[in-house]
Symmetry: C2
Subunit: 127 residues, 2 copies
Protein backbone atom coordinates (compact mmCIF):
# COMPACT_ATOMS: atom_id res chain seq x y z
CA UNK A 1 0.00 0.00 0.00
CA UNK A 2 2.00 2.94 -1.21
CA UNK A 3 -0.84 5.30 -2.05
CA UNK A 4 -4.15 5.80 -0.28
CA UNK A 5 -6.89 8.24 -1.27
CA UNK A 6 -7.88 11.01 1.11
CA UNK A 7 -11.18 9.25 1.60
CA UNK A 8 -9.64 5.94 2.63
CA UNK A 9 -7.22 7.73 4.93
CA UNK A 10 -10.21 9.34 6.59
CA UNK A 11 -11.83 5.97 7.18
CA UNK A 12 -8.71 4.61 8.82
CA UNK A 13 -8.40 7.71 10.95
CA UNK A 14 -11.98 7.61 12.16
CA UNK A 15 -11.77 3.91 12.97
CA UNK A 16 -8.67 4.64 15.00
CA UNK A 17 -10.37 7.50 16.84
CA UNK A 18 -13.61 5.63 17.49
CA UNK A 19 -11.66 2.64 18.79
CA UNK A 20 -10.38 4.79 21.64
CA UNK A 21 -13.86 5.19 23.11
CA UNK A 22 -15.62 1.95 22.19
CA UNK A 23 -14.77 -1.72 22.30
CA UNK A 24 -15.80 -2.58 18.75
CA UNK A 25 -16.23 -0.30 15.77
CA UNK A 26 -19.06 -1.10 13.36
CA UNK A 27 -20.25 0.19 10.02
CA UNK A 28 -22.98 2.27 11.64
CA UNK A 29 -20.55 3.93 14.05
CA UNK A 30 -18.40 5.05 11.14
CA UNK A 31 -21.38 6.16 9.08
CA UNK A 32 -22.65 8.32 11.94
CA UNK A 33 -19.23 9.77 12.73
CA UNK A 34 -18.61 10.73 9.09
CA UNK A 35 -22.22 11.58 8.31
CA UNK A 36 -22.40 9.33 5.28
CA UNK A 37 -24.53 6.32 4.40
CA UNK A 38 -23.86 2.81 5.62
CA UNK A 39 -23.41 1.37 2.11
CA UNK A 40 -20.68 3.93 1.45
CA UNK A 41 -18.90 2.68 4.54
CA UNK A 42 -19.34 -0.97 3.59
CA UNK A 43 -17.73 -0.35 0.24
CA UNK A 44 -14.84 1.62 1.69
CA UNK A 45 -14.21 -1.13 4.22
CA UNK A 46 -14.13 -3.64 1.40
CA UNK A 47 -11.42 -1.61 -0.25
CA UNK A 48 -9.44 -1.33 2.97
CA UNK A 49 -9.76 -5.10 3.39
CA UNK A 50 -8.36 -5.61 -0.10
CA UNK A 51 -5.41 -3.53 0.97
CA UNK A 52 -4.96 -5.51 4.20
CA UNK A 53 -5.53 -2.42 6.29
CA UNK A 54 -8.53 -3.74 8.18
CA UNK A 55 -10.02 -7.10 9.07
CA UNK A 56 -13.73 -7.75 9.30
CA UNK A 57 -15.74 -10.91 9.29
CA UNK A 58 -19.05 -10.69 7.47
CA UNK A 59 -21.48 -8.70 9.65
CA UNK A 60 -18.71 -8.26 12.20
CA UNK A 61 -16.74 -5.45 13.78
CA UNK A 62 -13.93 -3.67 11.99
CA UNK A 63 -10.39 -4.02 13.26
CA UNK A 64 -7.28 -2.25 12.00
CA UNK A 65 -4.39 -4.49 11.01
CA UNK A 66 -0.95 -3.47 12.30
CA UNK A 67 -0.33 -1.79 8.94
CA UNK A 68 -3.75 -0.09 9.08
CA UNK A 69 -3.01 1.07 12.60
CA UNK A 70 0.32 2.46 11.43
CA UNK A 71 -1.29 4.45 8.63
CA UNK A 72 -4.15 5.63 10.85
CA UNK A 73 -1.75 6.86 13.50
CA UNK A 74 0.32 8.61 10.88
CA UNK A 75 -2.71 10.47 9.53
CA UNK A 76 -4.02 11.30 12.98
CA UNK A 77 -0.64 12.51 14.08
CA UNK A 78 -0.50 14.87 11.09
CA UNK A 79 -3.98 15.99 12.03
CA UNK A 80 -3.01 16.86 15.58
CA UNK A 81 0.14 18.70 14.56
CA UNK A 82 -1.71 20.76 11.97
CA UNK A 83 -4.61 21.53 14.28
CA UNK A 84 -2.23 22.75 16.94
CA UNK A 85 -0.32 24.87 14.47
CA UNK A 86 -3.47 26.47 13.07
CA UNK A 87 -4.78 27.26 16.53
CA UNK A 88 -1.65 28.26 18.40
CA UNK A 89 0.40 29.87 15.67
CA UNK A 90 -2.14 31.23 13.22
CA UNK A 91 -4.79 31.96 15.83
CA UNK A 92 -7.51 30.16 13.96
CA UNK A 93 -10.70 29.18 15.85
CA UNK A 94 -11.15 25.71 17.30
CA UNK A 95 -13.75 24.65 14.73
CA UNK A 96 -11.92 25.93 11.67
CA UNK A 97 -8.65 24.43 12.88
CA UNK A 98 -10.35 21.06 13.13
CA UNK A 99 -11.89 21.30 9.67
CA UNK A 100 -8.81 22.58 7.89
CA UNK A 101 -6.46 20.16 9.61
CA UNK A 102 -8.74 17.37 8.41
CA UNK A 103 -8.25 18.47 4.82
CA UNK A 104 -4.61 19.54 4.85
CA UNK A 105 -3.54 16.29 6.52
CA UNK A 106 -4.22 14.46 3.25
CA UNK A 107 -2.24 16.68 0.92
CA UNK A 108 0.73 17.96 2.88
CA UNK A 109 4.21 16.62 2.10
CA UNK A 110 6.59 15.10 4.60
CA UNK A 111 8.90 18.05 4.18
CA UNK A 112 6.25 20.64 4.99
CA UNK A 113 4.95 18.64 7.94
CA UNK A 114 8.47 18.54 9.30
CA UNK A 115 8.67 22.30 8.83
CA UNK A 116 5.52 22.68 10.89
CA UNK A 117 6.82 20.38 13.61
CA UNK A 118 10.13 22.21 13.72
CA UNK A 119 8.31 25.50 14.04
CA UNK A 120 6.23 24.28 16.97
CA UNK A 121 9.29 22.90 18.70
CA UNK A 122 11.25 26.13 18.19
CA UNK A 123 8.48 28.12 19.75
CA UNK A 124 8.21 25.80 22.70
CA UNK A 125 4.75 24.62 21.83
CA UNK A 126 4.93 21.06 23.01
CA UNK A 127 3.27 18.21 21.15
Amino acid sequence: MQYLTASLEDYLEIIHILRQSMSGVGVTDIAKAMDISKPSVTRAIKSLKNNSLVIQEKYGKIILTPEGERVAESVYSRHKVLRKFLKEVLGVSEGTAEIDACKIEHVISKETLEGVEKFLKNYGIEG
Copy 2:
Protein backbone atom coordinates in the same frame (compact mmCIF):
# COMPACT_ATOMS: atom_id res chain seq x y z
CA MET B 1 -21.05 29.44 -9.24
CA GLN B 2 -20.78 28.96 -5.53
CA TYR B 3 -18.72 25.80 -5.45
CA LEU B 4 -15.93 24.67 -7.78
CA THR B 5 -13.99 21.41 -7.57
CA ALA B 6 -10.25 21.50 -6.95
CA SER B 7 -9.77 20.25 -10.47
CA LEU B 8 -11.78 23.05 -12.09
CA GLU B 9 -10.04 25.62 -9.90
CA ASP B 10 -6.75 24.28 -11.20
CA TYR B 11 -7.87 24.72 -14.79
CA LEU B 12 -8.85 28.33 -14.18
CA GLU B 13 -5.57 28.99 -12.42
CA ILE B 14 -3.44 27.52 -15.17
CA ILE B 15 -5.33 29.41 -17.86
CA HIS B 16 -4.70 32.59 -15.90
CA ILE B 17 -1.00 31.83 -15.53
CA LEU B 18 -0.48 30.77 -19.15
CA ARG B 19 -2.26 33.88 -20.35
CA GLN B 20 0.49 35.98 -18.81
CA SER B 21 3.09 34.61 -21.21
CA MET B 22 1.12 33.89 -24.38
CA SER B 23 -1.46 35.70 -26.42
CA GLY B 24 -3.98 32.86 -26.71
CA VAL B 25 -4.36 29.79 -24.52
CA GLY B 26 -5.38 26.55 -26.25
CA VAL B 27 -6.34 23.07 -25.15
CA THR B 28 -2.88 21.73 -25.94
CA ASP B 29 -1.17 24.43 -23.88
CA ILE B 30 -3.24 23.46 -20.86
CA ALA B 31 -2.76 19.74 -21.44
CA LYS B 32 1.01 20.18 -21.57
CA ALA B 33 1.12 22.48 -18.55
CA MET B 34 -0.93 20.09 -16.44
CA ASP B 35 0.49 16.92 -17.96
CA ILE B 36 -2.88 15.44 -18.80
CA SER B 37 -4.55 14.41 -22.04
CA LYS B 38 -6.23 16.84 -24.42
CA PRO B 39 -9.66 15.22 -24.14
CA SER B 40 -9.54 15.69 -20.39
CA VAL B 41 -8.96 19.38 -20.97
CA THR B 42 -11.73 19.62 -23.54
CA ARG B 43 -14.23 18.17 -21.10
CA ALA B 44 -13.13 20.39 -18.24
CA ILE B 45 -13.43 23.44 -20.49
CA LYS B 46 -16.92 22.36 -21.40
CA SER B 47 -17.80 22.33 -17.73
CA LEU B 48 -16.24 25.75 -17.17
CA LYS B 49 -18.22 27.05 -20.15
CA ASN B 50 -21.42 25.74 -18.59
CA ASN B 51 -20.56 27.72 -15.51
CA SER B 52 -19.82 30.86 -17.52
CA LEU B 53 -16.24 30.93 -16.32
CA VAL B 54 -14.62 30.70 -19.75
CA ILE B 55 -15.57 31.43 -23.33
CA GLN B 56 -14.38 29.38 -26.27
CA GLU B 57 -15.62 29.10 -29.81
CA LYS B 58 -15.40 25.62 -31.29
CA TYR B 59 -11.73 24.90 -32.10
CA GLY B 60 -10.85 28.31 -30.70
CA LYS B 61 -8.77 29.75 -27.90
CA ILE B 62 -9.94 29.78 -24.31
CA ILE B 63 -10.69 33.07 -22.61
CA LEU B 64 -11.62 33.67 -18.98
CA THR B 65 -14.83 35.59 -18.39
CA PRO B 66 -14.66 38.39 -15.80
CA GLU B 67 -16.08 35.94 -13.26
CA GLY B 68 -13.58 33.27 -14.34
CA GLU B 69 -10.79 35.78 -14.03
CA ARG B 70 -11.99 36.72 -10.55
CA VAL B 71 -11.96 33.09 -9.42
CA ALA B 72 -8.62 32.38 -11.09
CA GLU B 73 -7.01 35.35 -9.41
CA SER B 74 -8.45 34.33 -6.07
CA VAL B 75 -7.00 30.85 -6.38
CA TYR B 76 -3.65 32.09 -7.64
CA SER B 77 -3.46 34.65 -4.88
CA ARG B 78 -3.99 31.93 -2.29
CA HIS B 79 -1.30 29.95 -4.04
CA LYS B 80 1.23 32.74 -3.82
CA VAL B 81 0.51 33.48 -0.17
CA LEU B 82 0.83 29.84 0.78
CA ARG B 83 3.99 29.32 -1.25
CA LYS B 84 5.61 32.29 0.39
CA PHE B 85 4.60 31.10 3.85
CA LEU B 86 5.90 27.60 3.28
CA LYS B 87 9.21 28.91 1.97
CA GLU B 88 9.89 31.89 4.19
CA VAL B 89 8.31 30.78 7.46
CA LEU B 90 8.56 27.02 7.42
CA GLY B 91 11.78 26.87 5.42
CA VAL B 92 10.44 24.42 2.89
CA SER B 93 12.28 23.99 -0.42
CA GLU B 94 11.16 25.83 -3.56
CA GLY B 95 9.82 22.72 -5.26
CA THR B 96 7.92 21.38 -2.28
CA ALA B 97 6.47 24.80 -1.50
CA GLU B 98 5.13 24.97 -5.03
CA ILE B 99 3.60 21.50 -4.90
CA ASP B 100 2.05 21.83 -1.45
CA ALA B 101 0.71 25.33 -2.10
CA CYS B 102 -1.00 23.93 -5.16
CA LYS B 103 -2.83 21.39 -3.05
CA ILE B 104 -3.54 23.41 0.08
CA GLU B 105 -4.95 26.31 -1.95
CA HIS B 106 -8.02 24.19 -2.74
CA VAL B 107 -8.89 23.11 0.77
CA ILE B 108 -7.93 25.99 3.06
CA SER B 109 -10.64 28.13 4.66
CA LYS B 110 -10.89 31.89 4.45
CA GLU B 111 -10.16 32.14 8.14
CA THR B 112 -6.94 30.14 7.95
CA LEU B 113 -5.78 32.00 4.87
CA GLU B 114 -6.30 35.25 6.72
CA GLY B 115 -4.29 33.84 9.60
CA VAL B 116 -1.45 33.11 7.20
CA GLU B 117 -1.62 36.58 5.69
CA LYS B 118 -1.65 38.20 9.11
CA PHE B 119 1.36 36.17 10.10
CA LEU B 120 3.31 37.24 7.03
CA LYS B 121 2.39 40.87 7.60
CA ASN B 122 3.36 40.73 11.27
CA TYR B 123 6.75 39.40 10.39
CA GLY B 124 7.32 42.01 7.75
CA ILE B 125 7.31 39.53 4.89
CA GLU B 126 5.74 41.64 2.20
CA GLY B 127 3.38 40.18 -0.38
